[in-house]
């Protein structure tokens, strides 16, 4: 089981150049749990993830791992505890699956030491977990979107960190692959205790797979807690400007959001649901 960590952001404000995106956000990542960040396009989810993974320096506030400010931890040391898979990584032309997964071992290497047995084992294990061992020698360009995404996650797994940040690991994937990847990540969390923090767009899958949800709106944290605490029709209205009905997910204990548009509504009167302009 992975060790417990306290990972906290204390009133961070961050953004790009002079544009402030995140306003005074304080969060504590629940250790050994799956947390999901939800919010509308452009509300700052990726910015939050990148700031917490020290890719962006906050203009004020502090982020700490086990009580130590992250910018005081040497990058390679931090990278052995905290891994990040950004929203749009680059695939080098002609790279094989095994080569790409192996690049996740970078933080474990020192100046002089080459590849050790441990590195090969870590790569083999990561490919095994993501079920891509059979593709090891294939070129990434030949894989489907779902397979490719599994390769990227395996790259992050090969890093063998206790905490894993994933920015939209299921975008562009069919529903089948989305569920498959979320199941695999849940396995990972249950089996090894890996703390996972990810951004997801599908609100219902978020509600089902999250232990903890952070809801962002325009760069501010507006709600957090278990899915049943957080997912309410008023919150959805607030952050997505969408009318909806929250019901109990028929196959799990989580809440489920049924959107209400202007058409195809059977019994709900229009007056209850004002037209969205």
């Amino acid at each position: 089981m992975k060790p417990t960590h306290t990972f906290q952001a204390e009133s961070i404000t961050a953004g790009y150049d002079k544009k402030t995106i995140l306003h005074d956000i304080s969060i504590a990542i629940p250790s050994n749990k799956i947390s999901i960040i939800i919010g509308a396009n452009g509300c700052g989810k990726s910015t939050l993830l990148k700031t917490m993974a020290r890719l962006i320096k906050p203009t004020s506030g502090q982020i700490s791992l086990d009580g130590k400010p992250i910018h005081k931890i040497p990058p390679k040391h931090l990278a052995r505890v905290l891994g990040l898979l950004p929203q749009s990584p680059i695939v080098p032309e002609g790279i094989t699956v095994a080569d790409l997964v192996g690049r996740g071992r970078f933080p474990h290497h020192t100046f002089m030491k080459g590849w050790s047995k441990k590195d090969y084992e870590a790569v083999a294990e990561a490919m095994d977990i993501m079920n891509i061992t059979e593709f090891a020698d294939r070129n990434i360009d030949e894989l489907s979107g779902g397979q490719r995404q599994r390769v990227w996650i395996a790259m992050a797994l090969a890093q063998q960190t206790d905490i894993l940040f994933l920015d939209e690991p299921t975008t562009y994937l069919d529903i089948t692959y989305q569920v498959e990847i979320l199941d695999m990540l849940t396995d990972l969390n249950r089996k090894y205790g890996t703390t996972i923090v990810m951004v997801l767009h599908d609100i219902n899958l978020s509600a089902r797979y999250a232990d903890h949800i952070f809801a962002l709106n325009k760069g501010k944290l507006v709600a957090e807690g278990t899915p049943s605490e957080v997912i309410t029709s008023s919150l959805i209205k607030d952050i997505f400007n969408l009318n909806c009905k929250v019901i109990e997910d028929p196959v799990s204990d989580s809440p489920s959001v049924v959107p209400i548009g202007r058409h195809h509504n059977k019994s709900i009167s229009i007056s209850e649901n004002p037209v969205i302009v």
């Binding site: 040497p74 680059i90 690049r103 970078f106």
Partner: protein
């Protein structure tokens, strides 16, 4: 052959053989330096067409050397090298500055254009400095095209430390550059200090290409040819690309030199002309290749 090991034997054949050996060693070293320099530049810029000649970097290096000869009476290989490296550094900063202006950052196409424009300006400056000084024209002549014929033990000795430092830099930055190939964000997530590694690798690239240019003049396309051949054969892992592009660069330059002597006989065709003939069509092919995909 006896003459080789007995410098007092001054037969014509012995001299020719000795000269050929020096020339070959010099060729191998320059080719290795240019090959690795190209591999480093491509990684730093994440751009498949980066190469000292295409980016105008070695034209910048030769301009500095030519100015040194013309205005400061510089004539030793040692002084050439420092001037060339200064010229290479300034030119690369300039070209990347121009190439990354506007939206989208330093795309392959913008870099080629910036490099070509800069190269054109700098070469005309080289000519402008040279023309009125016909008395030193001979000393200048090989700067224009690149030639390995003038190599001697002295220039080889001057070159060696730069080659070693450059190669060491390349080998040590290799793993970090491998991570950088996955994008800056992934690289930072893996604990790479992206700014530092870019700077160090770029310095290595400039040292290698500046030193080679100082001693042999601006020889084009070696970096591009060497790395693309290697990438096709062994894939994108820099831990292998770096040593292999040294090897391939060395071979390509040496073969080109031999070709130049065969084609140009009874005189010789400067090796810079030969590599340009082979390299230019390859550059066009790569540039046209599907959507100019970035590395």
């Amino acid at each position: 052959m006896d003459g080789l090991f007995h410098p007092e034997v001054l037969t014509h054949e012995a001299n020719v053989v000795r000269q050929r050996i020096v020339r070959t060693i010099f060729c191998l070293m320059c080719g290795a330096a240019l090959g690795v320099s190209g591999a480093l530049m491509q990684s730093v810029t994440r751009n498949p067409i980066a190469d000292p000649s295409i980016l105008g970097v070695n034209t910048g290096a030769s301009l500095f050397v030519v100015c040194g000869i013309a205005f400061f009476n510089i004539s030793s290989a040692n002084e050439y090298i420092w001037l060339a490296i200064a010229g290479a550094i300034l030119t690369s900063i300039f070209v990347f500055g121009i190439g990354s202006m506007g939206s989208g950052g330093a795309t392959p196409l913008k870099l080629v254009l910036a490099g070509a424009a800069t190269s054109a300006i700098l070469s005309s400056l080289v000519v402008a400095v040279m023309i009125p000084r016909s008395n030193v024209m001979d000393q200048f002549r090989f700067w224009q095209v690149g030639s390995v014929g003038s190599g001697n033990w002295d220039s080889i000795a001057t070159f060696v430390p730069f080659l070693i430092i450059g190669l060491l830099i390349a080998v040590f930055t290799g793993p970090g550059l491998n991570a950088l190939a996955l994008g800056d964000e992934v690289a930072k997530g893996l604990g790479v200090r992206t700014g530092t590694i870019r700077l160090v690798a770029a310095l290595g690239a400039v040292l290698l290409c500046g030193a080679a240019t100082a001693l042999a003049g601006p020889i084009g396309f070696i970096g591009l040819l060497a790395t693309h051949v290697i990438r096709l054969l062994i894939g994108p892992d820099l831990r292998y690309i770096i040593p292999m592009s040294a090897l391939t660069g060395a071979i390509i330059l040496t073969v080109s030199d031999v070709l130049g002597r065969l084609l140009g006989s009874p005189g010789e065709l400067e090796v810079g002309i030969v590599t340009a003939f082979v390299g230019a069509p390859i550059l066009i092919l790569i540039t046209m290749k599907a959507k100019m995909r970035a590395l």
